[in-house]
């Protein structure tokens, strides 16, 4: 009766020995999370600053210079070029030297005087002159994030031009920002990185696990032994569960040190949730491994899973912004559920009970994956 257990432990021990000697793989286990965390933690930033822009100033007045300075002071844009006319400006956009052009017309002073934004009293709304904006932005609208950053300048108050205190107006809505009041992107990115890195390493390791035995010629011997497919599968994934947990500790720990990532008190929930995700990813990798005929194919399949995990899971772009069908597809990937979970645990102090749907789904995915992998693994050569 102890045979299945001792066989699983034999496979586990064998995998561990092989892994220990594979210096490159072992190094990647540590280096992948380390490098990616530092790289992405610092690099990915969705609050855009210092967009390079050109200025075409037909007004050439003190007022126009102050207005340009005010725009630059927002830090949204940075004036890198001064051009004479709109044609030159369009060429600059086409050549990607600048992302937008700030065009100041020659009647700037009159426009400012009549603009309600300047706060010089409200002229009658029927006066057509008042509906004219003071200047124009010509934007390379292909990147929607850049475009909306510049659009945010649309209603910039001009009261400062008259040495009046800005922001006197009362906003229509009060917005209270929970969990990430400083709006730092890293706070959102770092926990998400756990999901991405685990998806990558877990699926990559296990997708090679079975096919490697085949490629190295060990399979014929292995299937001639009494080992059962499910024992083989379980024995093969155990080492990677530990690796996954180590990677999680590295990312969250380093995230805490480097990016002041806060920690909720839900360590146990986090542990269980991560375990579920690791299990789901590993079983997915095993299924891929039973399909792939070579390690190269296994790697290609890993990428096939990895890309949607990055792009559809809510790691980069909000899940809610996707069309409904894409949301259904995203639901199929364990990463989507984990993204929701880990951000919940780490940032919102949520508990496993709050996110039980995602937990159940990942558990189901794990069990199904193991069954499919064991079922697909044939102890036959035909």
């Amino acid at each position: 009766m102890m045979r299945p257990l001792s066989r699983i432990s034999a496979i586990f021990g064998k995998e561990l020995n092989q892994l220990r000697r594979d210096r490159m793989t072992f190094g990647m286990v540590i280096m992948i999370p380390l490098i990616q965390l530092v790289l992405f933690g610092y690099a990915i930033n969705t609050s855009i600053r210092d967009i390079p822009v050109a200025v075409v100033d037909h007004s050439q007045t003190g007022l126009s210079r102050i207005l340009i300075q005010m725009v630059e002071a927002t830090r949204v844009v940075k004036v890198t070029e001064r051009l004479n006319n709109v044609a030159e400006a369009e060429a600059a956009i086409k050549a990607a030297r600048v992302r937008a052009v700030f065009f100041l017309p020659d009647d700037l002073s009159q426009r400012v005087a009549r603009s309600p934004a300047a706060g010089l009293g409200t002229p009658p709304s029927t006066d057509e002159e008042t509906s004219r904006p003071v200047a124009q932005w010509v934007v390379d609208g292909s990147d929607t994030m850049i475009a909306s950053a510049i659009k945010s300048l649309r209603n910039m108050p001009l009261a400062e031009l008259n040495r009046q205190a800005p922001n006197r107006s009362t906003p229509t809505f009060e917005v209270a920002l929970f969990y990430n009041p400083e709006q730092r992107t890293a706070i959102n990115i770092v926990p998400g990185l756990v999901g991405i890195i685990l998806t990558m390493t877990m699926i990559m390791f296990t997708s090679a696990a079975i096919v490697r035995e085949r490629e190295r010629g060990n399979m014929e011997m292995l299937i001639n032994t009494p080992v059962r497919p499910i024992e083989l599968m379980i024995g093969k994934i155990i080492p990677y569960i530990f690796i996954g947990l180590i990677q999680t500790v590295i990312i969250l720990g380093l995230g805490h040190v480097l990016f002041n990532l806060p920690f909720g008190a839900k360590t146990l929930d986090l542990f269980v949730g991560t375990l579920l995700f690791i299990g789901a990813s590993l079983s997915l990798g095993l299924v891929l491994s039973t399909i792939a005929q070579s390690q190269l194919q296994a790697t290609q399949m890993t990428v096939f899973v990895l890309l949607p995990s990055i792009l559809l899971s809510g790691f980069m772009f909000p899940y809610e912004g996707m069309p409904v069908i894409a949301q259904y597809i995203a639901e199929a990937f364990p990463a989507t559920h984990f993204m929701r979970m880990i951000r919940g645990f780490v940032l919102r102090d949520a508990s496993l009970a709050d996110l039980y749907r995602d937990a159940f789904w990942m558990f189901g995915f794990f069990v199904l994956g193991m069954i499919v992998a064991a079922f697909r693994f044939k102890k036959r050569l035909d």
Binding site: M2, R3, S6, R7, S9, A10, I11, G13, K14, N17, Q18, R21, D22, R216, G217, N218, M219, E220, M221, L222, I223, N224, T225, P226, V227, K379, R380, L381, D382
Partner: protein, 310 residues
């Protein structure tokens, strides 16, 4: 012969791969306590046949019974009772000898003291005691082969399958290897081996000569040689290549092949005095010596297969 003395019984075994019949109607009866060899060129279906016997391949047609178990239905039960040595080295090159043996022993359900005892036993028996910490991938062909055999017999199987076990091994190791096989047979193990070496086949108790997925002949090597449908005559002299060319296709000649300074000619059995027959043939003009010799297994192989069979 009682039923329990039969370890393998196969009837009408066929294996097709997309229309190609790799094994084509094979009948086998293999008795306990002997070394049974499949002799044949590469691609003749030896390995495919062996894989069907171990349950690795499902036969397209036919029935297989190994150690009283129906294969492939009871293949998993059978796996505890048989050992298998693959054609190419299939243990883990990045594990040490001891780790490999330990792994396989545990897979076969050996644990604790029993396992370490058995490990010491086979390591001693197959001269692996000093190689325990060596990586399997860094060993010589002969050492690997000993490890593979040690692994195959770890769980003391009743029946051992060896797929071209000596193809990557020097002659010295090969001879030693066969001594070990006879030791195993003495201990009660039955062995099935595939080979394309004549000298190796000659050591088997019984052989089956395979060609194009079919069994051409089977029996004891000695009986096969005696029952061969040809006499063997060797010719010496200059221009042996010319003589050979002239003889091939000539009446009464089954085959002719040069062996160093001699031409080995197979003459049909029906011809009563093959020496005189050849001497009188104009094709052998220029030969200095023509004498009848003892047949060997290669002659049997040639008469049973290919051009000799016709």
């Amino acid at each position: 012969m009682s039923e329990t003395d039969i370890v393998i019984r196969a009837e009408g075994l066929v294996k097709s791969f997309k229309g190609f019949r790799a094994v084509d109607g094979l009948d086998l009866t293999i008795e306990r306590g002997m070394i049974y060899g499949f002799l044949g060129p590469n691609g003749c279906g030896k390995t495919t046949a062996m894989r069907m016997l171990t349950g690795l391949l499902t036969p397209t047609e036919g029935t297989v019974e190994v150690l009283g178990l129906s294969v492939p239905k009871d293949a998993e039960t059978l796996k505890y009772k048989i050992g298998y040595m693959t054609q190419t080295f299939s243990l883990y090159g990045d594990l040490t000898v001891r780790e490999n043996l330990n792994f396989m022993a545990t897979i076969y359900g050996l644990t604790g003291k029993k396992r370490s005892q058995r490990l010491a036993e086979v390591m001693d028996c197959y001269a692996l005691s000093d190689l325990g910490e060596r990586f399997a991938g860094k060993m010589s062909g002969g050492q690997r082969q000993r490890l593979a055999l040690a692994t195959a017999v770890l769980h003391e199987p009743q029946l051992l399958f060896l797929d071209e076990p000596t193809s990557a091994v020097d002659p010295e190791s090969r001879r030693h290897f066969w001594e070990q096989l006879f030791d195993l047979v003495e201990g009660g193990t039955s062995i099935v081996v595939t080979t394309h070496f004549m000298d190796e086949a000659e050591r088997c108790h019984k052989i089956a000569i395979m060609e194009a997925g079919q069994k051409r002949a089977d029996g004891r090597p000695k009986d096969l040689m005696a029952a061969m449908g040809a006499n063997v005559v060797e010719i010496e002299g200059p221009n042996l290549r010319d003589i050979r060319r002239r003889l091939l296709g000539s009446d009464g000649i089954m085959a002719a092949a040069q062996l160093g300074a001699r031409l080995r000619v197979l003459v049909r059995q029906e011809i009563p005095d093959p020496e005189t027959f050849l001497k009188e043939k104009p094709e052998t003009h220029g030969a200095t010596l023509i004498e009848k010799v003892r047949p060997n297994l290669e002659d049997v192989f040639v008469t049973a297969t290919g051009e000799g069979r016709q």
